[in-house]
């Protein structure tokens, strides 16, 4: 899952990025409010972690303006502003969660997963398509109850496809979901990962729509 982290403190930003990466997120890190707004508008993130005391543009203003622009992605506000009026205002302006610093990295990751889940209308921290079950917290996948070992990228790709099960995702969209900035994307990377997934999980799981992209169907069509 690719998220945007907006935090101006270098040490905290660095720590959060490293920690969230360890927990399976792709993290893009911006250090001021204007960059945060620009990236949120330009890229497809599944969620954002937003500090409020940002240079150039306050986090609250960033949040208000991306909400005005119609962006629906879940936003977790991570801030030192602990006053109740601040929290109320943050939630009212459009934050999906309001968390005070300092926070446990695992809790932050869990909250982010919960936000993403809710945004996609799933009640549980797992996704099911056909006989495949994907557990987001454990980052594990089972096929017909049997655990299947996937690499990080393979898991992320499957996650992206299963989160949007029933919809076709283009290669660009998938690349955006899988890679944060500065990560080298080979031209056929997605094809390679799809190939590996098909080998591990069965060729019927991921369907190719030529010239458009890939799709995971919730149910296999009845023969």
């Amino acid at each position: 899952m690719r998220i945007l982290l907006a935090e101006d403190d270098p040490l905290l930003g660095d720590g959060l990025r490293a920690g969230l990466r360890q927990l399976g997120f792709q993290v893009d890190w911006v250090r001021d409010g204007e960059a945060a707004e620009r990236e949120l508008r330009a890229q497809a993130y599944v969620a954002a972690v937003l500090d409020l005391g940002l240079p150039r543009k306050d986090g609250m203003d960033v949040l208000a303006s991306v909400r005005r622009a119609g962006l629906m992605l879940p936003v977790l506000v991570l801030t030192a502003r602990d006053a109740v009026p601040d929290r109320i205002r943050g939630l009212d302006i459009g934050a999906d969660d309001y968390v005070l610093k300092p926070i446990d990295l695992n809790e932050l990751a869990a909250r982010l997963r919960a936000l993403v889940r809710r945004a996609h209308g799933q009640p549980q921290d797992s996704l099911t398509a056909q006989d495949i079950v994907l557990d987001m917290a454990a980052r594990s996948v089972t096929k017909a109850g049997v655990p299947v070992v996937l690499s990080g990228r393979e898991f992320d790709l499957l996650h992206a496809l299963m989160r949007s099960a029933g919809r076709v995702l283009s290669r660009e969209q998938l690349e955006q979901q899988l890679y944060s900035w500065g990560q080298e994307v080979e031209s056929n990377a997605i094809e390679v990962h799809v190939h590996h997934l098909r080998r591990k999980l069965g060729s019927a799981l991921i369907q190719t729509v030529r010239g458009v992209g890939y799709m995971v169907a919730r149910e296999l069509p009845k023969p």
Binding site: D9, R56, K101, P102, D104
Partner: protein, 460 residues
């Protein structure tokens, strides 16, 4: 320690003492006046009675040689007596008068008033004689009777006063009590206040005498309230500002714990240490600020600005060198300033530290001191990006950070610098550097220059 005296008791005692002395003075004056008037009146009656007797004797008593006792006609008569002598023989006397003349007959020249003792009582006697000096008349009156009149008069004056005294005491007590009631009301109000209550006291109908007291009290409450607000703000700010470094330390430590890769773990651990250093620095800054805001006026002494600047720059030079920056000092001779050494060096350190921190690698930082007209000046300039007018305006607001500087900082350095400048009465000017094109911060010490121009003055 003597018992504190009650204001009410004091007022009451003063009033009663005053009233008492006025009464006593009045009584003494009345006594003197009445006794004088009484003497005049009664003496004139004696004289007139004597004259009547003389005239009567001249006309009526010719040959009757034996003394006649005149009848006593009134119960007060015994207090009055008379004698009439004709040719040295008693012709007429009142029943209570002795047979012997009241005043010794002798030269017969005497005529007038005497006070003598007759039969153990004091008498006031008037002696008169006829034209041929054959008739002598003595009219006497007991002095006691005069005194009793006097006493009667005084009694009639003083008795109502004695009855009035308790009433007066009660009335004065009530009046004084009413008079000091605003003070008691203030006492009650103060006693009933909650310890945290710091709003001004409003007394309805407080007398003008109490206004200064109330104003002083309310002023005190206000100062305490401000102090407490600043204290609360400090606590809130401190807690708030410490959240981010602590969050960073926590995140980095957690990353280090979960790291499989050695290089990554090392990075996370050294970041954890950096976070600790930053939190420490922040705590120090906050404490400095809190001490400054508590407003304890430091002791001033004369300091050599140049020496102080060189010392601070020597401390900070490694920071600048690490960023490949050039730092130079141009210190004028004999640049004395008045101030507290520690505070002043914190101030100078903050300014130079800011210049290094917010200038890009390879920049130039120049610190100069000079004696200007009536003042000493310290200027810190850099060749960094400088600041726009809006940012300069907001400098020194707590926790304001220059946006886009890429440098971490709490924004407290400027608050501290401004506050110290205010405490040591230095003037801070922020502008664009004319020579280096970056930020120029100038400190002006008005008093220091006057001291500095004194060639005989030696530094401590």
């Amino acid at each position: 320690m003597p018992r504190p005296r009650s204001l009410q008791g004091r007022l009451l005692a003063l009033i009663l003492a005053l009233v008492g002395s006025v009464w006593i003075t009045t009584a003494i004056l009345t006594w003197r006046d009445v006794s004088h008037e009484l003497d005049e009146l009664l003496d004139s009656h004696l004289a007139q009675a004597a004259a009547l007797l003389v005239a009567q004797q001249a006309g009526e008593i010719e040959d009757d040689d034996h003394g006649i006792n005149a009848p006593s006609l009134h119960r007060y008569a015994p207090k009055v007596a008379f004698q009439v002598f004709h040719e040295d023989r008693l012709a007429l006397r009142s029943s209570n008068a002795p047979a012997e003349p009241m005043l010794a007959l002798g030269n017969g020249a005497e005529q007038g008033f005497r006070t003598i003792a007759i039969g153990g009582a004091m008498w006031r006697v008037f002696a008169a004689h006829g034209r041929e000096r054959d008739t002598r008349v003595f009219v006497g009156e007991q002095v006691d009777s005069r005194n009793s009149i006097l006493w009667a008069v005084l009694r009639s004056v003083l008795t109502p006063m004695l009855f009035a005294l308790p009433l007066l005491v009660l009335a004065s007590w009530w009046a004084v009590r009413q008079g000091v009631s605003p003070i008691r009301a203030l006492g009650r109000t103060l006693a009933q206040r909650q310890p945290q209550a710091l709003e001004p006291i409003a007394l309805r109908a407080a007398p003008t005498e109490m206004t200064p007291l109330l104003e002083a009290l309310n002023g005190l409450f206000q100062r305490i309230a401000e102090l407490m607000a600043s204290e609360r703000r400090f606590t809130a700010d401190a807690a708030h500002e410490l959240r981010t470094p602590i969050a960073a330390i926590r995140a980095q430590a957690q990353v280090a714990l979960a790291c499989a890769d050695d290089a990554e773990r090392k990075h996370a651990l050294s970041s954890t240490l950096q976070g600790c250093d930053r939190a420490t620095r922040l705590v120090e800054q906050l404490l400095t600020l809190s001490r400054l805001e508590a407003g304890s006026a430091p002791a001033h002494s004369s300091l050599d600005l140049g020496a102080l600047v060189r010392e601070v720059v020597a401390d900070l030079a490694p920071l600048a060198l690490a960023k490949s920056q050039t730092i130079e000092v141009e210190a004028a001779e004999r640049c004395w300033v008045d101030g507290e050494g520690t505070l002043l060096s914190v101030l100078v350190r903050n300014l130079i530290d800011n210049a290094i921190r917010y200038s890009p690698p390879g920049a130039r930082v120049r610190v100069s001191t000079r004696n200007a007209a009536g003042s000493s000046e310290l200027t810190v300039e850099d060749s960094g990006p400088g600041m726009n007018a809006d940012d300069i305006e907001r400098l020194g607001e707590r926790f304001f950070r220059v946006i886009g500087s890429g440098e971490s900082g709490s924004g407290l350095g400027w608050s501290i610098a401004r506050r110290i400048a205010a405490v040591i009465e230095a003037e801070v000017r922020v502008s664009r550097s004319a020579s280096l094109r970056g930020l120029a911060v100038a400190l002006r010490f008005p008093i220091g220059a006057v001291r500095g121009s004194d060639p005989n003055r030696t530094p401590k």
